[in-house]
């Protein structure tokens, strides 16, 4: 069973030899890969993927569906139905692999781009759209799906995740790799520079909190390349904080699954935090407001297209698992159906009224606020009947 604070000393990976000239963060170093971009299975000494092809078919379906949801949301934004959309294009494997590694009791703290993880947790995608349409600021109840609200302030949620994990620890909800609880915090490469994220690492480390830090290094923080945030590969930072760090091929859903599952197990059994760096690429613009042609080359995009997370699973399934057209076509059709429902749901989202928003400033409305609300109502009513 778990001890209270502080837990057993975390296993510390030996820090790498200090290189004479530090490697650039964007330079490719080895990562865990179990499925090549060509769709061939490869083995890794420490990470096994021993689930059957049915599971892989499930991952394929998840990735196709979230990509379809994502493209529908982008289209809705273009048509003026959403104020903004932050696309996950290219990051499907990172999100589905890690999301599917979660147990029912694990808790998720997302950024604003974790639509794939939300999908795995069973959050209705329409709820995600509400925030981007401007009808609410995240109307789902985190307790329903163990999926916290989206956090837009970069890095803040990593501390929330750590605190939540400390709560799990104090509730003695850890200590057992299968039934224990863990928390996972998502964040980006850019976020790794924030004080909050570094503080989260320190807290998690010294309290041995059951938290997995899942960094999607998509190579960009809006216009700034990864070299502007770090000169060593991000996963290596964990060593300095005293817990293991691992880089995984973020476009390989088998690998992100295996690596996340192992890290979650470690957390659940009380062995503390892990930093996972999912090495991936933001294939789209930062958000629909962004124009990436201002700062990056098309060649990079072409290069990463060859590593597409969905294509490689498609190749594997058709070549090695005897999966035929019907399977793929059915999923595409399912995606179109979900997208159509999402669109209809989005257009039907009721416009909110400001009066509702006076109510939740405090648990109980203050007299001052009640007065302001009444004034607002009276003022709004004074326009009724006008043209």
């Amino acid at each position: 069973m778990s001890e209270s604070v502080p837990g057993p000393a975390p296993e510390v990976f030996a820090p790498h030899e200090a290189p004479v000239s530090p490697p650039q963060a964007s330079e490719e170093v080895e990562f865990v890969q179990l499925l090549t971009p060509e769709g061939e299975r490869v083995e890794h000494p420490d990470y096994k993927f021993d689930l059957d092809d049915e599971t892989i078919k499930g991952f394929y379906r998840d990735m196709v569906l979230v990509r379809r949801i994502d493209s529908e949301a982008t289209a809705l934004q273009r048509q003026g139905e959403l104020g903004l959309w932050a696309s996950l294009l290219g990051q499907e494997a990172a999100q589905i692999g890690s999301g599917r590694a979660l147990n029912k009791k694990d808790m998720v703290f997302p950024t604003y781009r974790e639509h794939g993880v939300a999908f795995c947790q069973g959050v209705n995608p329409l709820n995600l759209l509400g925030l981007f349409r401007g009808v609410d600021q995240g109307a789902w109840d985190p307790k329903d799906n163990n999926f916290h609200l989206y956090t837009i302030v970069i890095g803040a949620q990593t501390l929330h995740a750590t605190g939540y994990a400390m709560g799990q620890q104090r509730d003695h909800a850890i200590g057992d790799a299968e039934n224990g609880e863990a928390t996972i915090a998502y964040f980006g490469d850019g976020a790794s520079s924030q004080g909050d994220v570094n503080e989260a690492f320190i807290w998690a480390s010294v309290f041995n909190a059951p938290v997995v830090f899942f960094c999607q290094n998509n190579q960009w923080a809006i216009s700034e390349p990864i070299d502007r945030q770090t000169r060593i590969p991000l996963y290596q930072r964990a060593a300095g904080f005293g817990f293991p760090g691992i880089r995984v091929d973020g476009n390989d859903v088998l690998a992100t699954y295996a690596v996340t599952q192992q890290a979650l197990k470690r957390a659940r059994e009380g062995s503390g935090p892990t930093l996972i760096e999912a090495y991936t690429y933001r294939m789209g613009a930062h958000t629909t407001s962004d124009d990436p042609t201002k700062y990056r080359l098309n060649e990079d995009l072409e290069h990463w297209k060859l590593k597409d997370p969905i294509e490689r699973v498609h190749a594997y399934l058709s070549r090695h698992a005897g999966v035929d057209h019907d399977f793929f076509d059915e999923i595409d059709a399912e995606g179109d159906k979900i997208a159509a429902e999402l669109r209809a749901g989005c257009l039907a989202l009721p416009d909110p009224v400001l009066t509702d928003f006076f109510q939740n400033v405090y648990v109980e409305e203050t007299p001052q606020l009640a007065e302001q609300r009444d004034q607002f109502v009276a003022y709004a009513a004074s326009f009724e009947g006008e043209g």
Binding site: Y112, A221, V361
Partner: protein
């Protein structure tokens, strides 16, 4: 003379300041190649190089904290905070370090730092992108807080701010970045930095405003003509310190005042103005000083922002009320 947008005017002002003084450094997130998310720093890195136009790591405390060090070393950093809601990771550095350095060093250390913050609502953004936190800075001794309401002021005020030896928080009305005006770069600015400007003369009541609300108040004043009212509009330009002389002179003339800002009602700049005007103009007033502001709620989801923000109708409603006494 050419017409220039407010955003481009700030760009031109930054450029002029950088040309004049090699110690001026511009820094922030995405301000280099991208030219900032609002393109206010567009082209500056190309022309002044990466040593003077710095894309920083993604950390606001780092931006301001290192600006302090650069200032100690004789530089004049101009820091961009990408959006109003993202200044708070830097709040400790601004409040405890930037604002107090001159005071605690008994005047030996100066902090010639400008912190540029695109602020305010009305652009249909998601949360944290539409805030008006000016009070949170104006309340802090040691900081000066200003905001421009038109492109000409934008051009000159950014340059004046950069030459200031006191730290300045410069609030840019982001929804007005595309407003245009004639700018004559050869005519020196008509006002020093911490002076308010009467942008419309009137006799019946004074609208006191700044930043994005200047345009709104000018439109309201035009609309009020139909009701037979002649409103004066004062663009405060400077929030900390207020230009009280200009405020008092206007209110003593019109005898009625309405303060307009997007920031919430309670403890806002309007509260301070109401208190000072009451103290200094008590016997001239025909009515209490009223405020037309955002409500005391967090900034709401964007589909409701039109109801939240003061607009022409709400300003006129405020005028009706202040005239009703």
């Amino acid at each position: 003379m050419t017409k220039i947008t407010l955003g481009k005017a700030i760009n031109a002002g930054l450029r002029a300041a950088m040309e004049k003084d090699p110690k001026v450094i511009v820094m922030g997130e995405d301000i280099g190649k991208l030219g900032g998310v609002f393109r206010v720093t567009e082209g500056l890195q190309k022309d002044f190089g990466e040593d003077r136009v710095i894309d920083t790591p993604l950390a606001e405390s780092g931006i301001i904290g290192t600006a302090v060090g650069l200032a100690l070393r004789g530089y004049r950093p101009v820091c961009e905070i990408q959006f109003d809601g993202f200044v708070f990771p830097a709040y400790d550095q601004i409040i405890n370090q930037v604002a107090k350095m001159h005071y605690r060093s008994m005047g030996k250390i100066r902090m010639p730092i400008v912190i540029r913050i695109p602020y305010g609502g009305g652009i249909g953004a998601v949360e944290h992108h539409s805030e008006s936190p000016e009070t949170l800075f104006a309340h802090v001794p040691g900081l000066k807080v200003i905001s421009c309401g038109d492109p000409v002021d934008a051009y000159w005020m950014i340059q004046q701010a950069i030459t200031s030896d006191d730290p300045i928080v410069f609030f840019e009305p982001k929804r007005r970045y595309h407003e245009k005006a004639e700018l004559d770069e050869s005519t020196p600015p008509s006002l020093p930095l911490h002076k308010a400007k009467v942008v419309r003369e009137g006799t019946d009541a004074t609208l006191l405003c700044y930043g994005p609300m200047v345009k709104t108040c000018l439109q309201a004043a035009e609309a009020a003509v139909e009701d037979g009212r002649n409103l004066e509009v004062v663009d405060l330009r400077t929030i900390a310190p207020f230009d009280l002389a200009t405020i008092f002179a206007s209110v003593k003339k019109t005898r009625r005042a309405v303060v307009v800002h997007e920031a919430p009602y309670s403890f806002g700049p309007g509260s301070e103005i109401a208190a000072r005007v009451t103290e200094e103009c008590f016997y001239h007033l025909e009515a209490p000083v009223l405020r037309v502001t955002g409500y005391d709620t967090p900034y709401p989801p964007s589909r409701m922002e039109d109801d939240y923000l003061p607009d022409l109708d709400r300003v006129l409603d405020g005028v009706d009320r202040v005239m009703g006494y």
